[in-house]
């Protein structure tokens, strides 16, 4: 197989044209920014994790489906029946877990903010006294 970089059709030129159109229309405010911001928050960057608090609540209700061609409706009905019959047990457990998740997420964010403040203070101290190492005791917590 050849690895020739020569394309048969110059798709890169079409992509460049698309990018130029997007840049022009963005500058003109042609795009619905609310929706695009929502999409950006949900999907981009594609491989990034969603915010921790978005993952904290546990869902007990998921779509009920069946891959069976015959009797699929019956299977879905049975699943729904089972789900309802164990809800009294499952719901409090998931509520406890969700409360715990949110608590942990809150503390992680508090710790992140605290570390950020400490780092900023340490950098500020070092910037103000070039050549002098920061105090070993560190800056006082704000």
């Amino acid at each position: 197989m050849t690895e020739s970089p020569e394309p048969r059709f110059d798709a890169a030129a079409v992509v460049a044209e698309i990018k130029a159109t997007v840049a022009r229309r963005r500058a003109a405010g042609d795009y619905p920014q609310d929706l695009l911001d929502r999409l950006e928050a949900e999907f981009a960057p594609i491989d990034a994790e969603p915010p921790l608090e978005a993952q904290a609540p546990l869902e007990t209700v998921r779509p009920l489906v069946s891959g069976r061609r015959l009797g699929g409706r019956g299977v879905v009905f049975a699943k729904r029946l089972i789900r309802r019959s164990v809800a009294w047990y499952v719901r409090p457990v998931t509520e406890d877990q969700t409360r715990f998740n949110f608590g942990v997420v809150r503390r992680i964010y508090d710790l992140e903010a605290r570390v950020a403040r400490l780092e900023a203070a340490q950098r500020g101290g070092a910037d103000q006294r070039p050549g002098v190492p920061p105090s070993s005791s560190g800056p006082e917590e704000a």
Binding site: M1, P7, A11, I18, L36, L39, D47
Partner: protein, 396 residues
């Protein structure tokens, strides 16, 4: 030549790129006069690994298929815990990695059949890289083994147990140059002998007719086609969202719908659901007709080692819209000229608008992609590369 494929699932109705690749290669090699056997499990689903097909040997389309029962059922609770750890960014230790692989259709009987198969066949070809049949199977007779990894840039590709399995065999066969470069990055100098072989294609006969499909499904308007597993790992919800962004917000006067074929629940974000036309699992002929009836094939997956969908789109006369972040599909479009790569909803929408407004450029891009796929991945070229690679990598 006498060849054996070892693959966790095998069958005409099993959806997936790897499964299609192995089935196609096995059947074309058999049709060319080679003796081909397949060692596989009785499972149809890579979620449940339930033994759904009968164990035993039968000949399917000239290929001798030996099915073995999965002997270690998937522990769903354990796998959920392992995935939760990985999703939170924690690494699995060596034991966790081994247990994870053991929960991917492990069959003692299949592993036990590998040594006798190695004795009666010239070479064993394992696919894909991350399942128990490959990871533990390669260790049985590595000198007679070749892996077709179908590698993705994902967490499993960094498991020590899996990288050991990729270093062990006599050779590796890749589907695309971009996949080969990924393996070179991951395994460095310890990569065994390797070559790009690829998936094979032929001109569809009869030529797929978009008009025929539209005459059976009237009033669908402009379509973007998606074919494959409808799951988050393939970025299906993102594709549905970008179709909705185009149709509801950016270009509401010229909306498009997403015509999807394949397995999985086709779940889309709430605001995109009405635009998803769920056709489910259809015949190969109908899939190509859906593509022929569409403006473009949308493929935003980042986890591709080849992408059958965009190649089949080109053979149906339809260009592709792929994600700029996927090295494999982007390279196909760059080299073949058969599609555009985008990285935002706005770029996706402009690409759709371009194809809506300019039929000539659509036709030229699709023709360019078709020429590329038949030149570089036509069956004669693929089988020739495969057989010469086997000869070179596995010498009796």
């Amino acid at each position: 030549m006498r060849l054996g494929f070892i693959v966790p699932r095998y069958g005409r109705d099993i959806v997936g790129g790897v499964e299609t690749l192995v089935r196609d290669q096995a059947e074309h090699l058999a049709a060319a006069g080679h003796h081909v056997e397949v060692l596989t499990t009785c499972a149809r689903s890579h979620y449940t690994w339930r033994n759904e097909l009968p164990a035993g040997t039968r000949v399917i389309e000239g290929v001798t298929v030996h099915r073995f029962t999965v002997t270690r059922p998937r522990d769903h609770g354990l796998m959920a815990n392992l995935h939760a750890r990985m999703d939170a960014g924690f690494d699995l230790d060596a034991e966790g990695q081994r247990v994870w692989v053991e929960n991917t259709g492990y069959s003692d009987d299949l592993l036990g059949a590998i040594a006798p198969a190695a004795d009666r066949l010239d070479a064993l070809l394992f696919a894909p890289y991350l399942f128990a049949s490959t990871v533990f199977g390669v260790a049985v007779r590595p000198e007679r083994s070749i892996v077709i990894p179908c590698l993705h840039d994902e967490v499993y590709a960094r498991f020590g147990v899996i990288q050991d399995a990729l270093r062990a065999p006599a050779g590796l066969m890749f589907n695309s140059p971009a996949e080969m470069r990924l393996a070179e990055r991951l395994l460095g100098a310890s990569l065994p002998e390797h070559q790009v072989v690829g998936c094979g294609f032929a001109e569809p006969s009869p030529a797929p007719s978009g008009e025929a499909w539209r005459s059976r499904h009237r009033g669908q308007g402009d379509l973007i086609a998606y074919a494959g597993r409808r799951e988050r790992a393939k970025n299906f919800p993102l594709l549905a969202s970008w179709v909705a962004a185009h149709s509801v917000a950016i270009a509401a006067a010229r909306p498009v719908r997403l015509a999807t074929v394949g397995s999985g629940p086709a779940e889309a974000p709430a605001f995109a659901r009405e635009l998803v036309l769920d056709l489910g699992v259809v015949s190969q002929e109908e899939k190509l007709e859906v593509m022929a009836a569409s403006l473009a094939v949308g493929q935003l997956s980042l986890n591709e080692s080849f992408s059958y969908a965009i190649a089949e789109g080109w053979l149906s006369g339809t260009p592709a819209i792929v994600h700029a972040g996927c090295a494999v599909t982007r390279e196909h479009c760059q080299r073949g000229g058969g599609g555009v790569w985008v990285e935002s909803a706005e770029e996706f929408s402009e690409a759709v608008s371009l194809f809506q407004n300019d039929a000539a450029i659509r036709a030229r891009m699709a023709a360019s992609g078709r020429e590329y796929i038949l030149d570089e991945y036509g069956w004669p070229a693929v089988l020739s590369r495969l057989l010469s690679a086997v000869e070179r990598m596995v010498r009796r």
